[in-house]
C-alpha cells in the first residue's frame, strides 16, 4: 500500500458518499478500501502517517511527494479549501473516524475530532529555500493546466478568449525545457483519464518544445509553437464531451461533429490573437490535416500543413497513443513510435517522426521497463553511452515496490519488455527528483 492508494480510495469514498447513504454497498466498499490503504501504510512505516499540504504540494512525513502533488492537484485544492494543512492517521485505524473525515470532505459533516484521524496536528511547512527546482517545474506544469482550463471555460461559455495567461504559462514551460529538458520530458508522462484534455494538452506542449529545440528552431519562435501545442485541442471545448469520451464507436454524424474541433479552435484563437499568437491558430486548424493533406479539415486548394502543425501533430499522436482512453488502452512509447513510423510520409512528416525518435529514443525518459530478472525500472537517462540506460529500479523481482528507488545503469540487452505505466502500476513522473 502506498500514499497514492490512500488518495485514490479517499477520493473515491468522498465521491461515493456524495451520492449514496453511508450504509450503501458502494460507500461501504469504498470505505473498506480506504481503511485498508491507511492500515497498509501505517503498518509499513510503523508510526502515524502524517500527510501535509502546502501550496498545492503534498508531503508525506517530511518528504515532498511529487507525483501525488500533480496527480491529485484538484483533490489537494479541495483539502486546502477545507482548511486542512495536515492529515495524521494514527494507529490503530478506526472506520468511524475515516467515515467522519470522508463526510467532512464531502460537505456532509463536521471535521473529525481526534481518534485515529487528526487534522492539522503537526503540519510540515517547508522553508521557501526548500523549494527545489522540481517544485518550480511542477508549479509551471500546473500553471499551464490552469491557464488552459480558463481558456476552455471562455470558449465553452462564448466569452472572449484571453491569451495572456496561456502565453505566460507557455513561457514557464519553455523555461523548464531550458533548465532541465529531461525533467520536462518526464513530466510529460503524467496522465489523467478523467481530465485527459488538460494533461494531454500540456504534455503535447512539453513534447513539442522538446522537438522544436532539438530541431534547432530559433528561440524567438518557440513561444508560438508551444502556444499552438498547448491550444491545439481548444476547439474540443465546443464539442460535446460525451462524444469525446464515448466508449463505443462514433456514428458518421458524431464523427462529423468531432471533426469540427480544428475549425472551432482556429476560430476561437483568431478571434483573440495578436501576431505572436497567429501560429497557434494555424496549428489548431491543421493538427489533424495529415502530412499529405488527407486528414481534416480539407478543402480545395489546401496547402501542405505548416511545419509547426506537422511537429505538433506528431507530439499529439504520440501522447494520445501512450494515454489510456475510454475506447482503448495505453500503448508503450516504443509501440507508439512504431505506429508513428508506419504513418511517416503519409499521415506524418517523416522528419518530425525522426526527430521524435531522436529526442525520445526507443526508451524515452519515463519509460517503464521490465528487466531480464523480472525487476521493473523507470528510465531517467535515455542517452547513456554504449546502449545503456540510466534508470531507477522501482520494483524487485517479486514485483514488490522497493522502499527507495535505486539508481542503476541497464544494458539494453537486459530489457525484455516495455510496459505501460498503468499496467506496471508505476508513476514515472514521481521520479522527477531522480533525474540527473
Amino acid at each position: 500500500m502506498s500514499l497514492r492508494d490512500i488518495f485514490v480510495s479517499l477520493k473515491a469514498a468522498v465521491g461515493a458518499v456524495g451520492l449514496y447513504d453511508v450504509g450503501h454497498p458502494l460507500v461501504t466498499g469504498a470505505m473498506g478500501r480506504l481503511d485498508a490503504a491507511i492500515a497498509g501504510v501505517i503498518a509499513e512505516i510503523e508510526e502515524p502517517a502524517v500527510v501535509s499540504f502546502f501550496d498545492e504540494r503534498v508531503f508525506f512525513r517530511r518528504d515532498l511527494r511529487s507525483h501525488e502533488s500533480l496527480e491529485f492537484v484538484d483533490f489537494v485544492r479541495l483539502l486546502e479549501s477545507k482548511g486542512i494543512e495536515s492529515l495524521s492517521f494514527v494507529p490503530p485505524p478506526r472506520t468511524e473516524d475515516t467515515v467522519d473525515l470522508v463526510l467532512f470532505l464531502a460537505g456532509l459533516g463536521d471535521p473529525p475530532v481526534g481518534g485515529s484521524v487528526v487534522l492539522n496536528e503537526s503540519p510540515f511547512t517547508p522553508d521557501d529555500d526548500d523549494q527545489s527546482q522540481a517544485d518550480v517545474f511542477r508549479a509551471r506544469y500546473l500553471a499551464a493546466m490552469d491557464a488552459l482550463r480558463s481558456a476552455i471555460y471562455a470558449v465553452q461559455t462564448g466569452e472572449q478568449l484571453d491569451l495572456t495567461m496561456t502565453t505566460w504559462a507557455v513561457q514557464g514551460l519553455l523555461e523548464t525545457a531550458v533548465d532541465d529538458p529531461a525533467a520536462a520530458i518526464l513530466l510529460s508522462t503524467l496522465k489523467s483519464h478523467d481530465q485527459y484534455t488538460f494533461y494531454h494538452s500540456v504534455n503535447v506542449a512539453v513534447l513539442s518544445i522538446a522537438l522544436a529545440r532539438a530541431g534547432g528552431i530559433p528561440e524567438a519562435m518557440m513561444e508560438g509553437i508551444a502556444l499552438g501545442a498547448l491550444l491545439h485541442d481548444i476547439g474540443k471545448a465546443k464539442v460535446d464531451s460525451l462524444l469525446l469520451n464515448k466508449p463505443g464507436g462514433l456514428s458518421e454524424s458524431e464523427w462529423t461533429e468531432v471533426r469540427l474541433h480544428p475549425q472551432e479552435g482556429a476560430l476561437s484563437i483568431l478571434g483573440a490573437a495578436g501576431p505572436a499568437q497567429y501560429l497557434a491558430a494555424v496549428v489548431a486548424f491543421e493538427h489533424h490535416a495529415g502530412y499529405q493533406r488527407d486528414g481534416y479539415p480539407n478543402y480545395d486548394g489546401a496547402r501542405t500543413p505548416h511545419p509547426a502543425s506537422r511537429l505538433v501533430s506528431v507530439a499529439d499522436v504520440y501522447d494520445a497513443i501512450t494515454t489510456r482512453r475510454s475506447y482503448r488502452r495505453a500503448e508503450t512509447p516504443t509501440r507508439a513510435q512504431l505506429i508513428l513510423r508506419r504513418g511517416a510520409g503519409t499521415q506524418f512528416d517523416p522528419d518530425m517522426v525522426d526527430l521524435l525518435h531522436f529526442v525520445l529514443t526507443a526508451y524515452p525518459i519515463g519509460s517503464v521497463l521490465k528487466l531480464a530478472g523480472g525487476e521493473i525500472a523507470v528510465v531517467t537517462n535515455s542517452k547513456a553511452p554504449e546502449n545503456h540506460l540510466g534508470c531507477v529500479l522501482v520494483k524487485g523481482k517479486d514485483g514488490a515496490l522497493l522502499p527507495e528507488p535505486q539508481p542503476i545503469v541497464v544494458s539494453i540487452d537486459h530489457v525484455v519488455d516495455q510496459l505501460s505505466p498503468e499496467s506496471a502500476d508505476v508513476q514515472p513522473a514521481a521520479f522527477i527528483e531522480q533525474i540527473r
Binding site: P275, Y278, V282, F285
Partner: protein, 583 residues
C-alpha cells in the same frame, strides 16, 4: 415570448453547467461563484421544463439553445425531470452539487431513488426537481435513454430472440436497428460483447457472409472503436481475427487504432506482454538512421501568411452559417487590428483572404465589408496620404465598396489638424471622380474646408453646384472663404459684393481681390462704395486691390484730383491713400 429574466437565467444556467462539468470543485472557482450568485438573484422562483428537444422557461420555449443548454436539457430529460425550479437565494455550493448530480448517468442514481431523491437527500436549499408524471407516454425510447439501460434491455431481448447458436435473429434485428434506431447501435454492440464467445463467433460469421457490405462496415467499425481491453477479454479468436482483418483494410475512422492493429493485431487484442524483443527488432527493421536534419521552419514574419491561409481555409471549409459569421467577424477584427498597429502590408493580406468569403457567402461578406470600411478607412486614408503603398492598396479595396464612406469617414474628429494631407491622399485615390465628394458635402461639417480646398486645387467647375454654394452662408468664416474660393469664378459681381459686408475681414479681403480682378465697372463701383464706408485699415486693402486694375487706378486717381482733395479732410485722406498705393 420569453421574458428577459428567463433568457438571462437560462444563459447563466448554461454557463454554470459548463463550469460544473469543467471543475472538480466548481463552487471553489470564482467564475462559477459569480454566475451562481447572479443566478440566485432572481426576483422570483423560475421553472425550467426540459423536453426531448427543447427547454421551456415559465412555460415558454427558449429559442436558440446553445450547446451547454442542449446538453443540460438532454441530461435532465434522461433523468426524467419535468421541472427544475430555482428559488432566489440558493448557494453556489448547492447549485454545483445539483448540476453534478444532473450530469450523472441516471443509472448511477437508480439505487437511491433517482435524481429527485438525491436532491432531497442533499437538502439543497432553493433547488427542486419534479419528475415526469406520465413516463409511459414517452415510450420505451425514453426509458432506454441511458446506454446502460439500453444495454440491459437489448440483452434481455437477445436472450429471447437467440434461442440457439447461429440464429439469424441477431443479424435481422441488428439490420432493423440500423435502419430505425441508429443511435442505439453502440448499445447493441455493447450487448454483443457480453454474449458467450460461441454466440459472438456465430453472429460475426453470419454477418461476414451477408452481402450487405455497408452493414458489415458499420458493425465492425463500431467494434474496432470499442473498448479494446474489454474486447480482448470478450471476443473469441474468430471474431478477433475478423476484426483484425477489417481494421487492416480500414483507413478511415480511428486511424491510429487501425495502424496499431495492422502492426500487431494479435497483441492489440489479446494483450500479450512479451512483445518487447519483437518490437525492438521491428524498430531496427524500420531503418532509423538517427540522423536528424535541422528543421526548416518559416520565420516568424511569415506567421501572418500562414494564419491568413488558415482563415481562408475556414471560409472555404465552413458550411454552417453561424460559424461562417464568426469567421467573418474574426476577419474584420484581424484587418482592423493590423491597421491600428500600422501593419498595412499585413492588413492587405488579411483583407485579401476575404475573397474566399466573398465567393462562398457574398451576403455575409458584403455586410462585414461595410462594417470594416466604416471602422478603418480614416486610418487607412491617412496612411495612404502619407504615400504608403499597402495603405493605398487597402483603400483601393475598401473604397469601391463605398467611396462615399471613405469621404464621410474623414469627418472624424481624430483628423482635426491633419485633415488636409489626408484629403489630398483621398483626392489622388478618387482621381477625377469628384461627384462622390459633392454627394458627401451636405453631410460633412469639420471636413468641409479641406474638401473645398481640394475641389479648388483640382480646378473643377463646381462653383455653380448648389451643394457647394450652400456653404457660402456657413456660419464659419473659413468655410465661407473656402466656398468663395471655389465659387468665386462663377458668381456675379452683385453676389460677390454682398460679401463686402461680411463680418470676417478675411472674407472681405478675398472679395476685394476678386472684385478687383473682375475690374468691370460694376466691380469697381462696388469697391468704390466699400472704400467709402471702410475703416482706415481696410481702406488701404481696398485701395491696393483697386490699384491692380486700370479701371481701379482711374478711379483712385479721380479721388486725388479737384478741390475736395485739398480742402476737405476726407479729400486729404483720399489723396494720401492714393499716394500710398500708386507710388
Amino acid at each position: 415570448m420569453v421574458c428577459v429574466e428567463c433568457a438571462e437565467a437560462a444563459r447563466l444556467l448554461g454557463i454554470a453547467w459548463v463550469g460544473a462539468g469543467l471543475y472538480p470543485d466548481p463552487a471553489s472557482q470564482d467564475a462559477f461563484r459569480r454566475v451562481a450568485v447572479e443566478l440566485a438573484e432572481l426576483t422570483d422562483a423560475i421553472d425550467f421544463e426540459p423536453g426531448p428537444d427543447e427547454l421551456r422557461c415559465r412555460r415558454e420555449p427558449l429559442a436558440d439553445l446553445g450547446p451547454a443548454l442542449r446538453r443540460l436539457t438532454a441530461s435532465a430529460f434522461a433523468h426524467q425531470v419535468s421541472v427544475i425550479r430555482l428559488h432566489p437565494g440558493f448557494t453556489p455550493e448547492h447549485l454545483a452539487t445539483f448540476l453534478k448530480l444532473l450530469a450523472l448517468d441516471p443509472a448511477a442514481l437508480e439505487g437511491i431513488g433517482g435524481l429527485a431523491a438525491a436532491v432531497r437527500a442533499r437538502e439543497l436549499v432553493g433547488i427542486e426537481v419534479a419528475l415526469q408524471s406520465a413516463l409511459s407516454d414517452a415510450g420505451p425510447g425514453v426509458a432506454a435513454s441511458s446506454d446502460s439501460l439500453a444495454v440491459s434491455m437489448l440483452l434481455a431481448a437477445l436472450g429471447e430472440t437467440l434461442p440457439s447458436v447461429g440464429s439469424a435473429s441477431y443479424v435481422e434485428q441488428f439490420t432493423e436497428v440500423v435502419d430505425s434506431q441508429p443511435e442505439q447501435i453502440a448499445a447493441y454492440l455493447e450487448a454483443f460483447t457480453r454474449l458467450e464467445v460461441p454466440m459472438q463467433e456465430a453472429i460475426i460469421s453470419r454477418l461476414m457472409g451477408e452481402s450487405a457490405r455497408e452493414l458489415q462496415e458499420l458493425f465492425l467499425n463500431q467494434l474496432a472503436g470499442h473498448e479494446l481491453a474489454a474486447l480482448g477479454a470478450t471476443l473469441g479468436p474468430q471474431a478477433a481475427s475478423f476484426l483484425a482483418d477489417y481494421v487492416e483494410y480500414s483507413t478511415g475512422h480511428r486511424g491510429i487504432e487501425a495502424e496499431a492493429a495492422v502492426l500487431d493485431p494479435s497483441s492489440l487484442l489479446t494483450f500479450r506482454t512479451e512483445v518487447a524483443a519483437r518490437v525492438n527488432s521491428r524498430l531496427q527493421e524500420l531503418d532509423f538512421t538517427g540522423f536528424v536534419r535541422g528543421l526548416e521552419m518559416p520565420p516568424k514574419t511569415e506567421w501572418a501568411d500562414a494564419a491568413q491561409e488558415t482563415l481562408r481555409g475556414l471560409f472555404l471549409v465552413e458550411d454552417r452559417p453561424d460559424k461562417r459569421e464568426r469567421a467573418a467577424r474574426a476577419w474584420t477584427r484581424l484587418v482592423s487590428a493590423s491597421v491600428r498597429r500600422g501593419s498595412f502590408a499585413e492588413a492587405v493580406g488579411w483583407y485579401e483572404t476575404g475573397s474566399a468569403l466573398r465567393s462562398t457567402d457574398p451576403g455575409t461578406w458584403e455586410a462585414e465589408h461595410t462594417r470594416l470600411a466604416g471602422s478603418v478607412i480614416p486610418t487607412v486614408a491617412l496612411a495612404a496620404a502619407g504615400g504608403l503603398d499597402p495603405a493605398r492598396l487597402l483603400l483601393d479595396g475598401l473604397g469601391p465598396a463605398d467611396p462615399l464612406a471613405v469621404v464621410t469617414a474623414l469627418e472624424s474628429e481624430e483628423f482635426d489638424g491633419k485633415r488636409e494631407p489626408i484629403v489630398a491622399g483621398v483626392a489622388r485615390w478618387l482621381g477625377d471622380d469628384v461627384d462622390v465628394v459633392l454627394r458627401a458635402l451636405p453631410s460633412l461639417e469639420r471636413a468641409v474646408p479641406a474638401f473645398l480646398a481640394m475641389l479648388k486645387r483640382l480646378r473643377v467647375e463646381v462653383g455653380s453646384d448648389e451643394r457647394v454654394r450652400a456653404f457660402l452662408g456657413d456660419h464659419r468664416p473659413e468655410v465661407r472663404l473656402a466656398a468663395l474660393d471655389v465659387c468665386g469664378g462663377s458668381m456675379s459681381v452683385a453676389d460677390l459684393a454682398a460679401f463686402l459686408d461680411d463680418p470676417a475681414g478675411q472674407v472681405r479681403r478675398h472679395v476685394h481681390r476678386a472684385l478687383a480682378q473682375d475690374a468691370s465697372p460694376e466691380a469697381i463701383g462696388a469697391l468704390a462704395h466699400a472704400l467709402a464706408g471702410a475703416s482706415e485699415e481696410e481702406r488701404l486693402t481696398i485701395a491696393s486691390a483697386l490699384a491692380k486694375s486700370t479701371g481701379g487706378v482711374a478711379y483712385l486717381r479721380s479721388l486725388a484730383k479737384g478741390w475736395r482733395a485739398s480742402l476737405t479732410a476726407t479729400g486729404r485722406a483720399n489723396r494720401d491713400l492714393v499716394a500710398k498705393v500708386l507710388r
